[in-house]
Each structure stands twice: as structure tokens, then as C-alpha cells.
């Protein structure tokens, strides 16, 4: 029996109905549903071991600290990082970008230095750079996107130079499913600059095996909640030599070595970046989520994503009035943004909801690119491990009926 056959049973939310219909959840690009094992792991902390980490010399604190710190090793293995200390816990991917943008600018960047992003970045990989660019007088450039929603490598070659100090790009587009050829882009960047290379793994890490050593990148950021884990937890992985050089941007408890009234020294990496009580229960939930995925294996997770994507391409392409924004590259994620001639995306998503189909409508935090396409809003369906062909069939039938009703 395939790992995916009865998988919905592991996710209690699929027992409920929405508008008297079975839930068809196709919004995992926004957040994933949680397996019982993740919920149990977090319940277990609050029920049996809860105490603040790194503090108490008593059993509960020691147990919770052990559970929490063991997630660092899980993340290290999950990403094939060099060392557990390279794993920094944040409250989410967005905080990760803010941390890196501020810390890198403060330490490494000079006025006039350039940051290279792509036109399809999530706002979390744009706004923090805009904020530091203003503060440190940096220049942001955007690599153009081709007609098939892939990254224009000629434009990259034109824009990269010795002035480029940071390249930060998506590992998987949350709009078109594009999976950029990271290794190729990394090699072009390396040949033409000494820029730091950051990968936005928010959509990529839940779906594909990511090996940071093989990719040759400097940093990757992802969030727990898109990866079957809870909200309030994210990960920044960075090369240890770089993390050692970078300065913290948040101060408080847990990140210090010695504190005097007029100064302080920092704890070692990773703790110097983790001020205050960390979200240890959420981190332990993330650990259970990683266990769940590794038990299936990331290879099978990505095969399932590919199967769903191909099926979606079969049934959604060539439909009358339905415009699909999806890369036609050979490899891509199962993310389909769509817009219907003469019908607003918000109407479609409200109507789909009445069939129990949950999709997202709006600009999906990629507003500049929507503007470039001349579209106000799209609705987006994303598939994950608990989705199957039947979910896509239900979605398609509901979409056809919605279009008919909306005229």
C-alpha cells in the first residue's frame, strides 16, 4: 500500500466538514495541516515536561531542553548541514529574513552595495531588504522573469557584478511553482561576484530534499507551519563561519555570555541569535513534523508532488476561460495560480468554499509581480502530501460550477 493512500487519517482536520461538504484543502502554500503526531508532541510538552529551557537545574527543564535541542540535530540532518549549531530557531521565515537582512547589512555591507532578488520573491524576501537598503544606502536589483515564469539567466548575468553582495532568491515560487536551478544560479553568482547566497526555502523545504552542502549555498530559511509543523517556529540555516562573524540584531535573555550595566558579550552561535525564551514547544512540534516527513522520505514526498502537478496540468490546462499561471519547466512544484476571464478571484474562492474547497485568493504576497502581469488577484491551489487526484477532481468540478454561477 502506498504511504499516501490513507494519509488523511493522520490529519484530524479532515474529519470535519465545511459547508456540509467534505473538506478539500488546497491551500498548503499558505499553511499546511498538522498530523496527530505533531499535535501530540506539543501536547506532551505542556502535559508532562513543560519548563523553560536552558535555565533550570531540575528534571523538567532538563527534559524540555533535551527535547528542544534535539530538534536542532533533526534540522541539521534534514538539511544535511555541517553542524547542529548552524540551525537558528526563529518565529518564522519572515523573522529569518529580517534577521539576515539586518545582521548582514550591519556587518558586511557598505553604501552602494547591491542586493539581487528576483521579480517573483515573496514580500518577506523583499521588504526586509527595502528597509535595510534605506538605512544603509544599498541598491536592490531584481532579476527578470521570463514568459514561462522562469528566471531569466541572461538578465542575471547582466545584473550580477562585483558590486553584488547578496543574492536572495526563492527555492520554489509560491505563485507559479517554479523550481529555479539553484546550483546553476549559484555557479553564475560565484563566477561573477563574492555575494552571499540566500535561498528562500519556505515553499521548497516542505516538498523536496534539500541538501545545503550539495547546493553550495550560504543560508536557507524556512518556516515550520508550511511543513506540517506549528506556527511560530522557523529556521535559518547558515554556514558556521558566517554565523560566527555576524552580529545579533535582537538583545535579551538567553543570547548573552556576560552582562554588565554598560555592556554585554554574546553567547556562542546559535544562541546569540535567539534572544528571549525561544518557542521551544513549537520547535518540538517542528521536530515531530520532520520525523513524520522523514518517515515517508522526502523522495516520496516530492514524487507525490510531481504526480499531483502532472494531474493538475492534465485537467486544468485548456479549460475555457481558465488562465493558469504555472511554469512549463520540466520540474516544478504543485502550485497553480489561476484567473478567470471576467470573474474576480475573490468570487471564485468564496464560491469554491461553498463546495468545501479551500483555496487562497489575492496577491499571495507577490504583489509587484501581479502588477507586472496586469492582474489584480489570482486564486491559488497548492497540493501537499495529504492531497490526491480526487481532491483535484472535486476542485475542478466546483470551479466549473462556480464559473457557471458567476456568469
Amino acid at each position: 500500500m502506498s504511504e499516501f493512500e490513507n494519509i488523511k487519517k493522520d490529519f484530524p482536520i479532515f474529519e470535519r466538514e465545511v459547508n456540509s461538504k467534505k473538506l478539500t484543502y488546497l491551500d498548503s502554500g499558505a499553511t499546511s495541516q498538522k498530523p496527530q503526531s505533531v499535535i501530540d508532541a506539543m501536547n506532551n510538552v505542556y502535559t508532562n515536561t513543560n519548563a523553560n529551557v536552558h535555565r533550570g537545574t531540575y528534571v523538567l527543564s532538563a527534559e524540555t531542553t533535551q527535547l528542544y535541542e534535539s530538534v536542532r540535530s533533526k534540522c541539521k540532518n534534514f538539511l544535511n548541514a555541517y553542524h547542529s549549531d548552524e540551525i537558528i530557531f526563529t518565529k518564522g521565515a519572515t523573522e529569518g529574513f529580517n534577521l539576515l537582512a539586518n545582521s548582514i547589512s550591519k556587518k558586511f555591507l557598505q553604501p552602494g552595495d547591491e542586493i539581487l532578488l528576483t521579480e517573483i520573491e515573496h514580500h518577506a524576501n523583499i521588504i526586509p531588504w527595502q528597509m535595510v537598503a534605506k538605512q544603509y544606502k544599498l541598491v536592490i536589483k531584481y532579476i527578470t522573469i521570463n514568459k514561462n515564469f522562469s528566471i531569466d539567466l541572461d538578465d542575471l548575468k547582466q545584473k550580477i557584478s562585483s558590486k553584488t553582495k547578496v543574492v536572495s532568491i526563492t527555492g520554489e515560487s509560491n505563485l507559479s511553482g517554479l523550481l529555479p536551478d539553484v546550483k546553476l544560479i549559484r555557479s553564475i553568482v560565484k563566477e561573477n561576484s563574492d555575494a552571499l547566497f540566500i535561498l528562500d526555502g519556505a515553499q521548497l523545504v516542505p516538498h523536496r530534499k534539500v541538501d545545503v552542502q550539495e547546493l553550495g549555498i550560504d543560508f536557507i530559511i524556512f518556516s515550520g507551519h508550511k511543513l506540517l509543523g506549528p506556527t511560530g517556529i522557523g529556521v535559518v540555516w547558515g554556514r558556521l563561519d558566517l554565523l560566527n562573524e555576524l552580529e545579533p540584531v535582537s538583545g535579551g535573555g538567553d543570547m548573552i555570555e556576560e552582562v554588565y550595566y554598560d555592556r554585554a558579550t554574546w553567547a556562542a552561535v546559535p544562541h546569540k541569535f535567539e534572544a528571549g525564551t525561544p518557542p521551544y514547544v513549537e520547535a518540538i512540534g517542528l521536530g515531530a513534523a520532520i520525523d513524520y516527513l522523514e518517515n515517508i522520505t522526502m523522495e516520496k514526498v516530492s514524487q507525490h508532488s510531481d504526480m499531483l502537478r502532472k494531474y493538475a496540468q492534465d485537467i486544468f490546462y485548456d479549460l475555457d476561460r481558465v488562465n493558469v499561471i504555472h511554469t512549463n519547466e520540466k520540474f516544478a512544484g504543485c502550485t497553480f495560480s489561476m484567473h478567470i476571464d471576467e470573474i474576480h478571484a475573490a468570487d471564485i474562492s468564496l464560491m469554491l468554499d461553498t463546495y468545501g474547497v479551500a483555496v487562497r485568493a489575492g496577491h499571495h504576497c507577490v504583489q509587484p509581480f501581479h502588477r507586472k502581469l496586469g492582474i489584480d488577484a489570482t486564486f491559488r491551489a497548492t497540493g501537499y502530501i495529504y492531497n490526491d487526484k480526487n481532491d483535484l477532481d472535486v476542485f475542478k468540478d466546483a470551479l466549473m460550477s462556480s464559473i457557471e454561477m458567476l456568469g
Partner: protein, 138 residues
Amino acid sequence: MAINEKVQEYKKILDLFPNAQEKYQYLIEQAKDNTNFPEELRNDIFKVSGCQSKVWLIPQEKDEKVFFMSDSDALIAKGLVTLIASIYSDETPEDIVNSNIDLMEEFELGVILSPARRNGAFNMLKMIKDYANKLKNT
């Protein structure tokens, strides 16, 4: 008809529809009947913030009463704003300011009237009351 009576009338109509889908279809019909919005006024001044789609609401004063014209680029939102505009039109600023009916409680309209933080419907009602308040005080 007083604001409260109009709300009760609409409530009666909406209650006839057994599910969200049929209620939305009713709103779509209301939207399709609302065709008198001047194209040139679809601008940012009259745009209601916080809506997923673009929604416009224009207040007018005639014989000491307030009237609202409304529009949206999405049909269900347009149906909703049409209904809200009709409830608060042909009323005095005092009556609008003094009415404390909670439409979100009265109408069971599913997610479109849920008390979410970024709720467009809430902003539509706020815009109506703010305008009435301004008129009342001048």
C-alpha cells in the same frame, strides 16, 4: 422604512436560502441589478479599504437625507455593498449614527460577514457611519 425594518426584511429574505451558496447567488442577483455607478467615480477617494476586491461607496445628501451609491469589481462583494447601501440610504444622518444594529450578527452570511480583522464589511459600515457623523455635526 426605518433601518431596523429594512434589516429585518433582508434577514427574512436571506433566511429563505438554506445555504451559503444560495445566499451568495442572491447577492450576485443584487449585484447584477445595481448598474448605475458612474465609471469615473471608481477612484481611490471612494474606495473602501480592507476588502479583498475593490469596493466603492459614495455618499450623497438630498433633502437632509443620506443616499449611497455602491460598486465593486467582484460580484459577491458588490451584492453585499448594494444591500448595505440600500439599508442606510434614504435615512437621516441622526438615524444612521444612532442605529446600533450588528449586521454581522443579524445576517448569516458565512465568511463574508465574519468578524475578521481585515473585514471589508466592517469598513463599509464604518465609512457609512463616519459620513453620517460628519453631516450630523455640520
